[in-house]
């Protein structure tokens, strides 16, 4: 079953959409088990997402969000995105029965 991944930014139409495109490309190329969508940072808390991806400096503002928050330093760097997502999946598998 796919993890729900939400990409966020401050306006919902700039960096979150670029980041979503990059995440889509990484998820597609490596067939990672995520359903990807994007929204405003203010929509994070009620989104029901398992993991939230945002630019590094926005990530600390996402407090009280019942999801894992991943901060990306360079949203155009697919290698960074890929390794952050793989690390998340590996840590989830460690916790599974």
């Amino acid at each position: 079953m796919n993890e729900k991944l939400l990409v966020v930014c401050g306006t919902g139409m700039g960096s979150s959409m670029i980041l979503k495109m990059m995440v889509d490309q990484v998820v597609g190329a490596q067939k990672l088990p995520f359903d990807v969508s994007s929204d405003l940072a203010s929509g994070a808390r009620s989104s029901g997402a398992d993991v939230i991806v945002a630019g590094l400096d926005l990530a600390p503002t996402l407090t009280n969000v019942p999801a894992t928050v991943i901060g990306i330093k360079n949203i155009l760097d697919k290698a960074e995105i890929a390794s952050a997502l793989e690390e998340y999946l590996a840590s989830k598998n460690d916790g599974e029965d």
């Binding site: 930014c9 401050g10 306006t11 919902g12 139409m13 700039g14 960096s15 959409m17 670029i18 980041l19 495109m21 990059m22 940072a41 945002a54 630019g55 590094l56 400096d57 926005l58 503002t61 330093k73 360079n74 949203i75 155009l76 760097d77 697919k78």
Partner: protein, 153 residues
């Protein structure tokens, strides 16, 4: 996919702008968007408030700022402009300062600017795109650099 060069208006490029801080750089970007008829003057203040409220997350990659605000804050049409400051500008980002290339973006709905974003992503995913674009001294040089980066895709 549409190319970045096709999406940047000829007048939408300023190289070596004399901005002394991030506010002045954002004002220069805002003026270009107004001149290109894609934003109202109010959009400039909205972009500045976006940085003040949400912090410098708009510095989306090392040296690269994507300045924008919400559509209802004064955007008139999807648009893109590019400014390189004469001296690199600090926005206060934890890892990606200083800014050497500032893009200005307008969108009017959720999807009309996806081409612009795709073109930005395709060019700036190259790790040396910012260096090469920041070094361009003329609009002709810039277009050459972008054309080469596009070919390398």
């Amino acid at each position: 996919m549409t190319e970045l060069l096709d999406l940047l208006p000829e007048d939408g490029i300023v190289l070596g702008a004399a901005a002394k801080d991030w506010r002045e750089l954002t004002e220069t970007v805002g003026e270009l968007l107004v001149d290109a008829d894609v934003a109202e003057p109010s959009y400039t203040g909205a972009m500045i408030r976006n940085v003040e409220t949400n912090g410098p997350y708009l510095v989306i990659a090392p040296g690269l700022a994507l300045l924008h605000a919400r559509p209802e804050e004064g955007a008139r049409a999807p648009g893109l402009v590019l400014v390189t400051p004469r001296t690199p500008i600090e926005f206060g980002h934890s890892t990606n300062d200083p800014v050497r290339v500032a893009l200005g973006l307008t969108a009017v709905d959720a999807t009309g600017h996806l081409d612009l974003l795709g073109a930005i992503g395709a060019i700036f995913t190259h790790p040396d795109a910012v260096d090469r674009i920041a070094a361009a001294r003329t609009s002709g040089e810039l277009r050459d650099v972008v054309a080469h980066l596009t070919e390398e895709n």
